[in-house]
Point group: C2
Chain length 577, copies 2
């Protein structure tokens, strides 16, 4: 019975289920500690939009150059390359009054571009003005905003919220479909509504005005960047998957609708491909492995898995479609890592009863990605499922039961949860998860293969993004999502996209560095890659068909190495080699 | 009795005097002959806004760079410096659709700037588009528009009209005063109304659309440029006379309101000072003496006299306030050189009866500048006035009579003119003219003095502007407006401002040349120059106090060299040394 198809015949009382209410997002580790940590990342603050205070010489009959020439002369004395300096009609129209209002004391806002700078504004007076910056991470799901004091790089406020575009679907493909149907402006407005609310919240918290915001860096995947800027996204999802723009010119906040000074300079993180975007480039910038010798595998797992392999000499990148399962999509009781999400699971091998940990220590409302990985590892370990993903149907234990047509594992019963139903994990859920982890692992092996390498030649694995936050590496290896490597080689970097945006906000060097290495990255397309299809098929087993690649998982496992018969059985479910 | 102060008590019939009706302006020498003459001036057409037809390679999975990168790659193959190429949000928003609409055949509009180029538009298809240009001379009085075929430089149409700003006064000072009172926008709209009407007329005459106009050059004096662009003009007329902008960046037609494609690139001729503007720079560009050895004195006489002295090694410039007399202002029957203006006068030495020639061979309606110069030379020659400008009061001839308080010379009687009044030249008119010619001549001698030179070192005098068109050099020397030099050294160049604009429209080299020599010109201020005041006082005599400077005038004169008594008498009328 759908609410939207009900006919109302009298007074009704509407109940909104607890689990569908949006919750306040946690921003990890804000406050002075973050300021201290981030501050050390940039030693030399150098914004796009520079505020240059000047005292100009008064004009005389013997020195009667034009106001603009006088301004240029003043800028030149400050080391500004005035031969490459443009100025617009608006500034020229106001210039005569502005320079005279405070006796030839002025402050000039100059935006620094690659090939030519531009005077964006001239204001009377040359005292100190507050100058704020924004680092914005526009995720498909979550948007994070940092408000920065550009004078010292301190983080004045941080806010986060759900991207309102979610009304048009959970993943980028649905967003693009929606933009094709309703127009890209609608999607842009949705993202802007979230972003501008978050900016307003941040500004209010320190009692600042939008006019003070004069520098902005936006980091997001290629679809998010296209939608935000109202650039046609339809060709991103059509063979051969072409973005309209990879390397964006510096824009003005006013022309894209950001709540900042309309003159504010906006740098959009460049992205090398349709499915490897500015968020990944931003993350690399933060981790810095593109400046170092060790060969690094950099991964962000979400609806898409984005993978970068390389070091200071070379960078290769690719994306694989992990599907929505890790973010709770297509999973009966799946949810994001919000309050009440089951994030850790152990199963008693005797009673098969689970022991659960929830985000925020709240009563369970569903299960998030890291919880599912824990769960699958435990289901495999305890023999509830086998390596091909089949449920053991003859255990005679009430935790494993048939619900309708499907076998399920019961995580918690109705009276222990605010959702008032049993929370279960189904055979279909498991199949979806195996698809997802297989797609990601195949991405690693394919990219390594394209580089003529294997895991033994990888010095470091960096995991980034929200998904990694609660991830248990041991369990992820046990199910074959992550490779079975020395655990000391794994590092988790959190939301690296926002930190890279912060760094680019404060430093011309970092902005240029991002553009340079983005431009030099080799993109490997998996959609058309036969190696990838082979690797994917091999990875649709727990942990993998090739157990030699998972020695520690095998050693820790209670299961026996099964015959290839099971593999073939699994393939019979619909996969083909 | 002023009409504006009359109270209307019943039906009234308003008569607009014939002489105040605006008349269709003559455009000298249009047609194929002009095209041929102008065409030879530019051999290598090179517009600001280039139209580059491209066929891009189709994207594939192996070649999946962004549309913008693909576009840049195509432009690079055509020799475009893409590292210095900017692109705006509007182009990015349309790019994906545009490149695919005609199967990756496109035409790119790139504006070429000094330090960075910009993609202004991308259109589907790469066939031939008509590309038109406009050269616009915005004079204080008259505006001239040439419509040019950018493919071959031919002049398709030429139109001219009175600057509607004239409602706010005849000279630049009155226009600035009006802008201070009513706002600069009003003055801008007035000029634009005239300009856009003229553009429309030109386009209609060849059945072309404004969208086809993609390059524009505007040449005008500094006040006209400021007013047109809505740049504050008030400091132009206040000590120390500072323009807001001398060297304008390339603008877009849409941002200044010109009737052309909104993307059209607009070059405003640079001007070195508040009273030496882009029209003069444009004129120099045409005459080309800044590229040659001979020392040239370049002069344009109007309300202000603008003077340039120099050659390929150096250029000095200055402006003097000639007042409105040469253009008919402050002269009882003064008018511009329009139909019916007396432009030539000879006086029978016996009868003192004048023989008149009128512009367009029409019945006389007034007297224009060249007519006044003729007249004064004749009045002097026939002894009707003396060298100090006094009327001979005892001639007993009816041509010289007292009218009210003033002595006048009768040019024509009421029944021989459509204005139905005697057209006369008064003692006050004469005094005004002597002021004006003195101001101009003092300008020459002062500028030469500042350069450590005298007239003997000048190889050539170029006269330009509407005033020169009907000027009789011999008569101008006779009254001391022009120096008494070998007549073969004088040349008249007509409206050099529009021709320079035409040249700049077609050639990057000429645009750059104009900016370069404008920047290197030394401006000499006369307002504060004691030498100028001395020279001015000496020039308030017919032809001059120093008759040694006017040997041919003396030789041709019927008058005797008078004593300095007369000079002192003249000074007693209100001048002081």
């Amino acid at each position: 019975m759908l609410a939207c198809q009900s006919k109302i015949t009298g007074d009704v009382s509407v109940q909104i289920p607890e689990e569908t209410l949006a919750r306040k997002l946690k921003i990890a580790g804000m406050g002075q500690a973050v300021t201290d940590r981030l501050n050390r990342l940039v030693t030399d603050i150098d914004p796009m939009l520079q505020e240059i205070p000047l005292t100009l010489e008064h004009p005389t009959l013997d020195d009667s150059v034009s106001d603009l020439d006088r301004l240029n002369r003043g800028l030149k004395k400050q080391g500004c390359d005035v031969d490459r300096l443009n100025v617009g009609i608006k500034v020229m129209r106001q210039l005569a009054e502005v320079v005279r209002r405070d006796n030839w004391n002025i402050t000039v806002s100059v935006v620094r571009r690659k090939c030519a700078n531009e005077i964006l504004e001239v204001r009377p007076g040359n005292g100190q003005h507050q100058s704020l910056g924004l680092a914005i991470d526009v995720g498909t799901t979550t948007i994070v905003v940092y408000l920065i004091d550009m004078s010292d790089g301190s983080v004045l406020a941080a806010t986060a919220g759900h991207n309102r575009q979610a009304d048009c679907g959970d993943d980028v493909i649905n967003r693009i479909v929606c933009a094709e149907k309703d127009g890209v402006k609608k999607l842009s407005r949705m993202a802007l509504a979230t972003i501008n609310d978050l900016i307003g919240e941040a500004l209010d918290s320190v009692d600042a005005k939008r006019e003070a915001v004069r520098n902005v860096v936006v980091s997001g995947n290629t679809t998010m960047a296209h939608l935000l800027l109202q650039i046609e996204p339809r060709y991103l999802r059509r063979d051969p998957y072409i973005p309209t723009v990879s390397d964006f010119p510096i824009l003005k906040a006013g022309e894209i609708g950001l709540k900042a000074n309309p003159m504010a300079a906006v740098f959009i993180m460049p992205g090398p491909a349709s499915y490897v975007g500015g968020d990944i480039v931003s993350g690399i910038l933060y981790t810095g492995f593109h400046r170092e010798d060790p060969v690094t595998l950099f991964i962000e797992i979400g609806t898409n898995g984005e993978i970068v392999l390389g070091n200071k000499e070379w960078l290769m990148t690719a994306a694989c479609s992990a599907g929505p399962a890790f973010e709770g999509g297509g999973i009966r009781w799946g949810m994001r890592a919000e309050e009440g999400a089951i994030e850790k699971v152990t199963i008693d091998p005797q009673t098969l009863v689970p022991d659960l940990s929830m985000v925020g220590d709240a009563p369970p409302r569903g299960i998030c990605g890291s919880g599912m990985i824990d769960l699958i590892a435990e289901l495999l370990k305890t023999g509830i499922v086998d390596r091909s993903g089949q449920f053991a149907t003859e255990l005679g234990n009430d935790q494993v039961r048939k619900q309708g047509d499907e076998w399920v594992y019961v995580l918690t019963v109705a009276d222990e949860t605010p959702v008032n139903e049993d929370i279960v994990f189904t055979a279909s859920d498991l199949k979806n998860l195996i698809y997802s982890k297989g797609a990601v692992y195949a991405g690693f092996t394919t990219l390594l293969g394209e580089a003529g390498m294997d895991f033994s030649m990888v010095d470091r694995i960096i995991i980034t993004g929200g998904f990694g936050q609660y991830l248990n590496i041991e369990k992820a290896v046990a199910i074959g999502l992550l490779p079975d490597m020395d655990r000391s080689k794994f590092a988790y970097m959190g939301n690296s996209s926002i930190v890279g945006a912060y760094m680019a906000l404060l430093s011309t060097t970092y902005r240029q560095e991002a553009r340079d290495f983005c431009d030099s990255m080799t993109y490997i397309d998996f959609f058309s890659n036969p190696r990838y299809m082979d690797e994917f098929t091999s990875a649709l087993f727990l942990p993998h068909t090739d157990l030699n690649a998972f020695p520690s998982a095998v050693a820790a496992a209670s299961w026996d190495i099964q015959s290839m018969e099971a593999v073939h059985r699994f393939n019979g479910l619909g996969f083909s080699a």
